[in-house]
Amino acid sequence: MTVWQIVLLASVAVLALKVAGYLVPASVMERPTPARVANLTTVALLAALVVTQTLERAGGLVLDARLPAVVLAGILFALRVPFIVVIFVAALTAAGLRSLGWAS
């Protein structure tokens, strides 16, 4: 697949899901199971993306400067620091550890 094909196919899929919700009769929404599965799927995918973005490199598990940066980000989110500030601090932490040679 080319990057363009991936970009367009994924965009159409996500857009179609938005349109689909407006076509479904309201009675489906009142059933708790589909709503619960959709909400929990979001949580599961985001949690899995956090660990893969933190630990994965070239198909293996690697401990590097990303881990302390993400742990610090977690502490800052718990302290209700704004999103964009936390992201900036996380990047700065990883970049700092690398430039000091303390982590790869």
């Binding site: 899929a13 919700g21 599965v37 949580v43 899995a48």
Partner: protein
């Protein structure tokens, strides 16, 4: 109205990080912009470029599946917003692309139908314009920066997912699912191609969601 502007400004700021990360993941500036114009759903966009960053175009199917699965929650918002948007079919068709976390949250928080309508359209439109302009700015910036790891952008991507996850961890069931999904993904990373461990973690959500494990009686 004020709620719409506050949320719009905050979210537009994330667009810069998305644009920079997209370019760092191997997309060109145009591809990053097309994602923000057509897909327009932050979580799905971050997921797509995240999977492509680790697996390249070989991980294309897994990247598309991750983006689509994360986009499922937009269908729920559409169902809730249908009666609020109302009107002829073309109005709902116009509303569909603007149906995202923030526009749904602002709309459903308003006490009157009029407030709900204004909340939806203003939030959706402000974020759409802001998100696309900041994506372009971030992508151009990312193009200049070059080496991603030197600037810690890989750590920023991980922190961004954590930031999207955080507000959803308010009760026992999502916390249990998040922990289980993280463990499943970590264990599978060495054994499966990039992107696939993320999809495998979604199975946890389906099992827990259908059986309502860790949940109160529904």
């Amino acid at each position: 109205m004020r709620a719409s502007l506050a949320v719009g400004l905050a979210v537009a700021a994330y667009g810069v990080s998305f644009g920079a990360l997209a370019v760092a993941s191997g997309l060109d500036v145009w591809q990053a912009c097309v994602l923000s114009l057509l897909m327009f759903s932050g979580g799905s966009q971050f997921a797509l470029v995240g999977v492509l960053a680790s697996g390249g175009t070989a991980a294309g199917p897994a990247a598309i599946a991750s983006a689509a699965l994360l986009g499922m929650r937009n269908s729920l918002y559409s169902m809730r917003l249908g009666p609020i948007v109302g009107g002829p079919w073309w109005r709902r068709l116009l509303a569909a692309p603007l149906t995202i976390d923030e526009s749904a949250a602002v709309a459903t928080a308003q006490p009157t139908l009029r407030g709900q309508r204004i909340g939806f359209w203003v939030t959706g439109a402000v974020i759409y314009v802001g998100w696309n302009l900041t994506t372009l700015a971030g992508a151009l910036l990312g193009d200049l920066v070059g080496d991603v790891r030197q600037y810690g952008l890989d750590a920023a991507a991980a922190a961004a997912f954590l930031g999207l996850l955080w507000p959803r961890l308010r009760s026992r069931q999502p916390v249990a699912v998040a922990i289980a999904a993280a463990v499943v993904a970590t264990l599978l990373i060495p054994w499966l191609p990039p992107g696939v461990p993320v999809l495998a973690a979604a199975v946890v959500a389906i099992v827990v969601g259908v059986t309502n494990l860790f949940g109160r009686a529904a």
